[in-house]
Amino acid sequence: MNKSATKNQKNKSRIVLGRDIGVLIAAILIAVFFTIASPVFLTAYNFFNLLRQTAQLGIIAMAMTMLIISGEFDLSVGAIYAVTGVVTGILVKNMGFNIWPAALIGFLTALLLGFVNGTLISTTKINSFIGTLSTQMIFRGIAMVLSQGQPISFLQSSIFFDAFGRAELFGNIPVQIFWLLAWTLISFYLLHRTSFGVKVFATGDNRLAADLSGIKTMSIKKTCFMITSAAAGLSSLISLAFLKTVTPTQGSGLELEAIAAGVIGGTSMSGGVGSILGTFIGTFIMAEVRTGLVLMGTDAYVQDAFVGLVIALAVIINVRFSISKDRT
């Protein structure tokens, strides 16, 4: 069904929405399966539980999707996620800052690290897998040194913690879900409804052509790196507010999960293809599978294997889609 549509480059950002139907159906089928398997699956409590999990990873995964569409990866998001939390924690705990300015500085630190990533990749032109793998280690090291390997707990109370992670609106809706939805709307608008979004797709689809048509592809990529780090920063603050604790080791492995969520949602690893809604649903599927398996009482040892199976299936489907795209 995509064959004729993909020929039209200009409409590319629009037609990917059609592809999201496939992921959506998968998400619904998985939900139906688990609802039959466990009566608790389809309860408000569990649904919000799922979305709370989706919020933490989804915010990062959607930004990562933009970056992957532009043709780059960021393996340092998990480390940025840790640095944001640790910087905020240190400012409050050791330097007596109020939580609000501390969180703001933590967030700005995340942006700065994204800027470092973007500048590194765009000026040296090294492969972003290697480039951000090295910054991942550096940033993780910063988090370790600053915190001396210790977790930092926040014992005071402040409206900050409610606003970012603890409040339950209308009685039982976790506040994280509003952050998730807000971020989804902004990302969706940015990627699928603005000229910036069109440029992101063009950059990842065919950089040479994009360059020739006057798009500053390097600055597009740089912006995508900063959006990704901003997402890591926001997600970190949400987790900090929810748990009232930060650890320097938090977020390890998050980068691969974010990429996996994007790929389940139909993002192509080779750039130029992907969608915000697809990634949203991709993240939701990962949370669904994990939670569903626990609800069913699956043995602890096989859970990871099942999650891996779902990722593999999703990638296989994604590859099949990509092949049909290349043929046109």
């Binding site: 539980n49 709370r52 977790p151 939670t291 009482g297 859970q303």
Partner: protein
């Protein structure tokens, strides 16, 4: 007695200082303490204990190792200590056989090796200072039996299924619960090390079975997550809770009554005694011996005192 001890310590300190000032007047020993994951908060008291011992006896103590769990890298750290010709090595051995060769190499070069925190008896190490994970699990099992004398359904949570030390703890708990004549039904939930996900998955497991009477984490990540759930869902007193190790989240939860206990293995002692035994071996040729650093449940009764000591790095 106390006075004698403090005079003795003061003398040691003076001796140590003179040792440094009087340049090589007396040989200054160098001991290396290597753990398998230096960035883990658990090892902070191990380091402090080792360094405090070093100060007391006037020896150089270097604390090192890979930041995250990595056996191969840890072996490299041991090899580099051998190359530096240190006077002794105290190290964790989180694998039954991976360290056999490197320990033999060190011993053959006259460098004594002592296992701390995690043991590998076949490696040829001179002694083991720490707590048996199986015994620690049994200790948790007994706490559970005490809290739930009538038995019931319980959740056991772990952040990594298949990690040897955690599996040993779980085995210890199961053995105690199984011995209660079928009163207990348990289920193990693995969550991964991310605490947000741990909170979410453990909540789900709790939802799936409304008969759950208790939730117990075999390490500090899921232990902290359980503390979060009890507070958030207002389950205080309705669902019993316990964890492992000393982290602020768990200790505060015990203070508030959200959690009933956590199991401490006194890591300070592991670092301190590790260095001490190496020193006594070098200095007076005293044979190192196994030390059980104990299993110390922290409950509402002693939590305040423990928190004070934890803040100072002793617990």
């Amino acid at each position: 007695m106390k006075r004698v001890l403090s005079v003795f310590i003061a003398m040691l300190l003076i001796a140590g200082t003179i040792g440094t000032v009087g340049a090589q007047a007396q040989k200054r020993y160098k001991f290396v303490v290597i753990t398998h994951a230096t960035a883990v908060p658990f090892f902070v008291p191990v380091r402090k204990g080792a360094e405090d011992a070093g100060k007391l006896i006037g020896a150089d103590v270097v604390y090192t190792g890979p930041t995250g769990f990595d056996i191969q890298q840890q072996v490299e750290f041991v090899k580099s200590a051998i190359a530096q010709k240190v006077d002794g090595i105290a190290m964790t051995m989180p694998d039954a056989n991976a360290f056999n060769a490197v320990v033999k190499e060190a011993m053959s070069k006259g460098i004594p090796v002592i296992a701390i925190n995690a043991d590998a008896p076949e490696s040829g190490r001179l002694a083991y200072i720490g707590q048996g994970n199986y015994e620690a699990g049994r200790s948790m099992g007994m706490q559970i039996v005490k809290l739930l004398p009538n038995g019931g359904d319980v959740l056991l949570t772990t952040h990594t299924a298949g990690a040897e030390n955690l599996e040993d703890r779980i085995r210890g708990i199961k053995d105690v619960l199984d011995a209660q004549g079928g009163k207990f039904k348990y289920r193990v939930v693995a969550t991964g090390t991310d605490m947000v996900r741990a909170v979410s998955l453990i909540s789900s497991a709790l939802q799936a079975n409304p008969n759950i009477k208790g939730m117990f984490g075999v390490e500090e990540v899921t232990g902290s997550a359980i503390a979060q759930i009890i507070e958030r869902d207002r389950l205080k007193g309705k669902v019993m809770a316990g964890g492992f190790d000393l982290v602020t989240d768990e200790l505060v939860a015990i203070q508030k009554g959200n959690m009933q206990f956590t199991i401490d293995q006194q890591p300070y002692l592991q670092g301190f005694q590790g260095v001490m035994e190496l020193y006594l071996l070098k200095k007076f040729n005293l044979t190192p011996c196994d030390i059980n650093t104990g299993i110390a449940p922290v409950t509402a009764e002693n939590v305040n005192e423990v928190m004070k000591l934890a803040a100072e790095g002793y617990r």
